[in-house]
């Protein structure tokens, strides 16, 4: 392992939670629909379902690098979903999504925890730099997109859009 991946501030354990005004079983069914995963993770990786339990992930890193892995859904309880990457993954990772009843009429709380474990060496360093900036954002954005999909049937987007020229910079 190199110095970057040893740094505890790397925080490759990304957690986020949202509350969605729908019952847990409905949300669980939506989460498991093959096209849902590809839609909610599109800011991070191209996800292609292989079968009901397995999916192929391709993440695009800096400088055009591609990182691939396959995830498999594990057997779990009715109030959670667990998955982890198979052997040989470019980016080993494991996730757990827990469904909890929200208080009052608020629906269901979704707690998502994804542990990224980049390997050492030059590739691992590159990934660490990439994930150092964004692991929580990756997870939070996926949950926000899932909430929009569950409540409205669509994910908000402005892409493609004419609001700004490509390559425009923040001021």
């Amino acid at each position: 392992m190199n110095a970057v991946t040893h740094d505890s501030s790397l925080d490759a354990d990304a957690r986020a939670a949202v509350t969605i005004g729908r019952p847990a079983d409905e949300l669980r069914t939506l989460w498991l629909r093959p096209d849902t995963q590809s839609r909610i993770w599109s800011h991070f990786a191209d996800v292609t379902p292989i079968d009901e339990r397995t999916a192929e992930w391709v993440a695009h890193g800096p400088a055009g690098g591609e990182y691939r892995w396959r995830t498999e859904l594990a057997a779990g309880g009715t109030n959670e979903l667990r998955w982890s990457s198979s052997d040989g993954a470019d980016v080993a990772n494991a996730g757990v999504l827990v469904f909890q009843p929200a208080p009052g009429d608020r629906g269901t709380e979704l707690h998502l925890d994804v542990r990224f474990d980049p390997p050492g060496g030059p590739l691992g360093q590159a990934l660490s730099k990439l994930f150092h900036l964004v692991p929580r954002e990756i997870v939070l954005k996926a949950l926000y997109k899932f909430r929009a999909l569950a409540l409205t049937g669509e994910i908000p987007t402005t892409d493609p859009q004419p609001a700004a020229r490509k390559g425009g910079t923040d001021r």
Binding site: L151, A164, D170
Partner: protein
């Protein structure tokens, strides 16, 4: 299509950009009939709001005709003349269902940009930086409107485009500000600012039963419009506002104070000089003269209703609020909760938003319109563009 694009601080140009398209099934495309400047645009143009990008199409207050509809749009159709609130709301989430539409949980496409600043993302808004969603604005021939069934409101026959236009933003923002005051019989309401939002807040306070409305500004033509609406005008450069308000309220102070000014407040004296210097040096983003005065003026146990747009003001005299037991209400406009009622008030002539439209321009002339609006030339209250 042609559109007014932001290219950097104080650099606006009309350019040819790609036409908007239907991206989601509940979108419509609107052919813009009228679109207008808003004081909050000046914060963007002046570079006080981060995450603007070169080429962003400005404009968030507009009305127009539907020319294309997504497959799942059911309540509006091609050819409908509609007005659209500036915040985009899905109508399905907890916030929308509690009439807090500008807090919509699902309409922000880039929540990761805003969540670190605010803790939680708001709803998306047209043309108000990428931290607020990055949606293309309405100073263009066409604009894409998501969630059309929730966000498009039919303009009744007989109501002019000019009257409908401001029911997109200035009128619902002002009405919400008056609604926040929970106006009771005998209440006196003071409104800082006689721009579009302030004037609409004044008319709204009267509709909601205020005994007396006091309008505070420095520009004679704006104060004259407030007086024409029935408010008592106060020129803060000519009178001591705090003393004048005590005089007008028998020493009680206004029951509620509405700040319709925001972060680029003019003012007088040492505090204003301090604010201008700090803002020029980027030591603070906000000049809060109006807000501070409203906090001092409001009666004990009264309400402070904040409509002005602020960023991250420092030196905020919280003790005034705490010791006087003041209730603070504030929000970006929850327009969808108010538009149907406002259309009715406008039809009955109780609300007259068209009075705000002092200057009209073509889209090609819109940079000139913003210049006039910003510098309040020729009594410009709002510049309206007809693409």
């Amino acid at each position: 299509m042609r559109a007014l694009c932001w290219n950097g601080v104080n650099d606006l140009r009309v350019e040819t950009v790609a036409d908007p398209e239907i991206l989601n099934l509940r979108d419509v495309i609107l052919k813009v009939r009228l679109t207008t400047t808003c004081g909050s645009d000046l914060h963007l143009i002046d570079g006080l709001i981060p995450t603007m990008r070169e080429g962003d199409v400005l404009g968030h207050e507009f009305m127009g005709e539907i020319v294309d509809v997504g497959r799942e749009v059911t309540k509006v159709k091609r050819g409908d003349r509609v007005v659209v609130p500036s915040f985009i709301a899905c109508g399905q989430c907890w916030y929308c269902q509690h009439d807090q539409y500008s807090l919509c949980d699902t309409s922000h496409p880039k929540p990761e940009l805003q969540e670190p600043l605010l803790g939680y993302p708001t709803g998306g808004i047209y043309a108000y930086s990428h931290a607020f969603g990055g949606y293309a604005g309405s100073h263009a021939e066409y604009v894409r409107v998501p969630f059309a069934d929730t966000d498009c409101f039919l303009v009744p026959d007989g109501l002019s485009d000019e009257n409908a236009l401001f029911i997109s933003d200035a009128a619902p923002t002002g009405f919400m500000g008056a609604d926040f005051c929970n106006i009771q019989r005998g209440d006196v309401i003071a409104v800082w600012g006689c721009g579009g939002v302030g004037l609409m807040a004044q008319q709204s306070a009267m509709i909601l039963g205020a005994e007396r409305v006091i309008a505070i500004d420095r520009y004679p033509e704006r104060l004259a419009q407030a007086e024409a609406f029935g408010a008592i005008p106060l020129d803060y450069t000519k009178v001591d506002v705090i003393e004048a308000l005590k005089e007008l309220t028998g020493g009680r102070g206004p029951d509620a104070c509405i700040d319709a000014v925001g972060m680029e407040a003019d003012g007088t004296g040492v505090q204003h000089a301090y604010d201008r210097v700090k803002q020029a040096l980027y030591l603070e983003s906000d000049r809060g003269a109006a807000l501070r005065q409203a906090m001092l003026a409001v009666r004990k146990g009264g309400t402070l209703s904040i409509l002005g747009v602020y960023a991250l003001m420092d030196k905020f005299p919280l003790g005034l609020l705490m010791n006087k037991g003041v209730t603070v209400r504030t929000a970006q406009q929850h327009g969808q909760a108010y538009v149907p009622r406002l259309l009715e008030h406008a039809q009955r002539g109780e609300l007259t938003p068209a009075a705000l439209a002092t200057h009209r321009f073509s889209l090609e002339e819109s940079p000139k319109g913003y210049h006039m609006f910003k510098h309040k030339e020729d009594g410009c209250l709002r510049a309206v563009f007809a693409p």
